[in-house]
Amino acid sequence: MAKFLSIFDFFSKNRRNKILNDEDEKELFVERYRAFREILKNNHQVLMTMGDMQEKAGGAYLFDKAYIRSSNSTLLSGIEKIIGQLNLLSDNRYTGLMVSFQKCMAGIQHLLESRISIPQTGCTKDLKKITKGDIASAGGKIANLGELASALDLPIPPGFVITTWAYKSFIAFNQIQDILVDEIKRLDIRNYDALRATTDKIQKKILNSTIPPELENEILDAYRAICHVTGQDQLKVAVRSSAIHEDIRASFAGQYISALNVTADEILDEYKSVITSQFSPRAIFYFKDKKFNIENMSMAVGVLAMVDADVSGIMYSRDPAKPDEHYSLISAVWGLGEYAVGGVVSADYCSVLTENGGINISLECGDQKVMMVTNPEGGTDEVEVPRDKIGTPCLDNDQIKDLAAIAEKIEDHFGFPQDIEWSIDKKKRIYLLQSRPLRIASPALRSGMKIPTAVKGQTILINKGKVVCRGVGAGNVHIVRSEEDMANFPDGGILVIRHSHPEFAVLLKKATAVISDVGTPLGHLATVARENNVPAIFNTENATKILVNGMKVTVDAVYANVYKGSVDELLRQGKKEDDFSSSPVVKQLREILKVITPLNLTDPRSPSFNPSGCKTLHDITRFSHEMAMQEMFDLTKDSNFSERSARRLVAEFPLQWWVIDLEDGIEGGSRGKTVKIDQIVSIPMHALWEGMIAVPWKGPPPVDTKGFLSAMLKASMDPSIDPAVSKRFADRNYILVARNFCNISARLGFHFSTTETFIDEEENQNYISFVFTGGGADDGRKSRRVKLLSRLLERFDFRVTVRSHTVFARIEGYKPAFMKERLKVLGHIIIHTRQLDMVMYNDKMVDWYYKEIEKDILSFFS
């Protein structure tokens, strides 16, 4: 709790809005309660959106820039609402948040508008030196192909890429960038004729442009280099598009052209043709429809030695129909692979099952009549399949085995099933031409595909919980229960906690994985875990009991299992980076998330816990949520209600309460002078009440406030009690109820408590906030009573802060059932610990009462 107002501070505080008379105060309160509710709701929405964006940024999912824009605007509008409502709730005390908000917004806007930066590289690059990290310069297709050679040493044709930087130089040299952008921006893509006309115009312009001499030289030099490598002077090549957006599958697949068997003289023209294909009507329609930034249009082009193919085809490293089994599918045709891809001819199909080291092939021969071959003069021809080949399988068993092994190797490397193009030349050498992620129905299954749900032969310690951040990590268990445990947290440790409190965020830089007994998948700690990419499983229920400090475990935050010891099989799989990770859109989302998700305001006690300390949108939500709860709490203290708006609670109970209905809290509205407990339909109120009456109260009978006041003043032992406190004795005890909300104050003698709680289905909105203060005994006894209270509250999962003789306790973010149980506990504690200060002779009495009350609570607490 950030503000440690002593009870005396806030009792003597001038009430805000004193201009309003009592009768208006209920209206004011109802209005503010609604603002408060909206804050909780929006806070939940905002955290959900953040969680979703983080998940996407993990690289395992498919999305486009339109997604970034729409989720970003959802986020911004949610936060703007939160700030507005918080200021409504607090009489504009947090207008400073707008400054932080605008800064964040400007930062995000800048990133959204910025071009996907095209790295300044050479104009060409050798294919074998390219890795999957080179998407921005080599495009997706070529980057993945390069990866096969550079990382896996798999055979690909010699070749090079003409980079996006080369494209940029080409456009700049011809000074056509502005024309392209203007034309496309003005274009109404719904008007097909206009679309056609504009794209025609643009394509002509590009085809008529001149390749800068330096670029031309560089391309031809690179070409000569591959001629040299292959030992062929007049090497024919394939010229393939490789756009930087192409890796985002649903998008541009098949929209850009490739040219086959290109001669040396044609390379430059084909280069222009290929980049022109970026401006086809279909591509432009898609680009604009998805709101990609036009300035970001760019294309790399791969130039690969043409494989003189005997057999070609495609293969899937996994059968999409049976993703959990180790089947791969291969289709093969005679000649060039274009016919296999296009499904023009009847190809051979084989399904290969690799299991336990063995291999099982089932082959279905096609009936291929014609095939595509290279023309020695350039280009391709369709010819008849030679008679001796008709009816014979394109591949022998060894070749099938080799291909299946390659497919498996590639899938292992990328961590996803792959769709691979290959050719086998006349000398029976296999070449890979392309590899891209294979779309399999459930995206959630994909990256976990290779990890069995439970690794055989390993001891599972925990097998339930909710995966909050996917991944695998191993290390030694370090259970954190206190600040001291936090201080001693070792680098690489497995953080094991009872609750997912945001304070633990500071440990996520060191932790290898996080496990919690209870926790909120959408809470702050979850967001930070995803931010830091720390595998996390929450809601395991009893990890803190099962695991012991120093124990070595492997956390599989894919299937929510925790294994004893180090499970290498999982760790190997866990290291794979997801396949979209290096795509520019994913990178851009990650950049934007840097302004959104980091949490700087982890500790409300820190002096920087203020509006200007909010550096990210997450900070703003955290701060606003915290302040909203405090403001709501303070508001009830400062309020006064007229006779008309309050009804006396009729119940067998030694305290008198007046009930105010804020919203749907009382059955049948708020007419009448009294209200029975059964008429109150507030969910949290009932839970609290159950606890209050679970064990009969043995304290003094109700005292009329007047008599009570005089007794108190006469007997006051504590000269520090502010005169303003006495005023509060004359005040009534109020209960403010709504269907999901309840604020209840209980004052008796020298003892005050206020409980405020909100309980709804969305756990992220739920909280219980509790303050207890006062006491008539000496300071030693009062402190010991505070100690008793703190221990009890902590025992039942509250987070407790003590300041002088005041206890602040909070619990938040759990499911309704859990929250209701805790309210029941609190109800019991409220009733049975007040006035106990008198008996707190020494610490042994604290122990004694702790055990007694704990026993009582456990007796009604299942």
Binding site: K698, G699, P700, V703, F708, A711, M712, K714, A715, M717, L748, G749, G776, A777, D778, D779, G780, R781, Q835, M838, V839, Y841, N842, K844, M845, W848
Partner: protein, 159 residues
């Protein structure tokens, strides 16, 4: 001997150091309280109301009476007493009763300026071992028979 030594002032045990309870506390709680304070030599619980007004005192004698009324009856009738009997004779019920049912009334109190001899006199007169000390209608502490006796014997030995 100075005047000061005539007074009980130095012998007062402040209220904060002395066991006390609200009147609705149970016999069981009172036993817990005295169990904890045994070593300090405090054998009586002061009983207050919610306004911290002194309403009674609970001595060991009161507690034993409250704890074992039946046994006391049986003993007078010549029936032997066993632990089992103590636990079976409705003691649980007795333990849950409030101490206001067992405490004795406070008949007298002292002022911190009162003399040792006055205290000794009242202790004898009231047949009690503890006396509350008041200041402006508030209990500030107690004086005990043990301390008064010790102080008086010191004086006597110096004669």
């Amino acid at each position: 001997m100075t005047d000061k030594h005539d007074k009980i002032e130095d012998l007062i045990i402040p209220l904060s150091d002395y066991p006390h309870m609200p009147y609705w506390g149970t016999l069981r709680e009172a036993i817990a309280q005295l169990n904890v304070t045994y070593e300090t030599g405090h054998h009586t619980v002061l009983v207050f109301d919610e306004g911290y007004k002194l309403v009674g005192m609970l001595s060991r004698r009161n507690i034993l009476k409250g704890l074992v009324p039946k046994i006391a009856d049986q003993y007078s009738e010549g029936i032997p007493i066993f632990w089992d009997a103590l636990l079976e004779s409705g003691t649980e019920k007795q333990l849950a009763l409030p101490i206001k049912d067992f405490m004795s009334k406070v008949k007298s109190s002292m002022d911190s300026k009162d003399s040792l001899l006055k205290a000794a006199y009242i202790l004898l007169e009231e047949n009690t071992v503890v006396l509350p000390v008041m200041e402006a209608e508030k209990v500030i502490g107690v004086v005990r028979m043990d301390d008064i006796f010790h102080e008086i014997t010191n004086v006597v030995l110096k004669l």
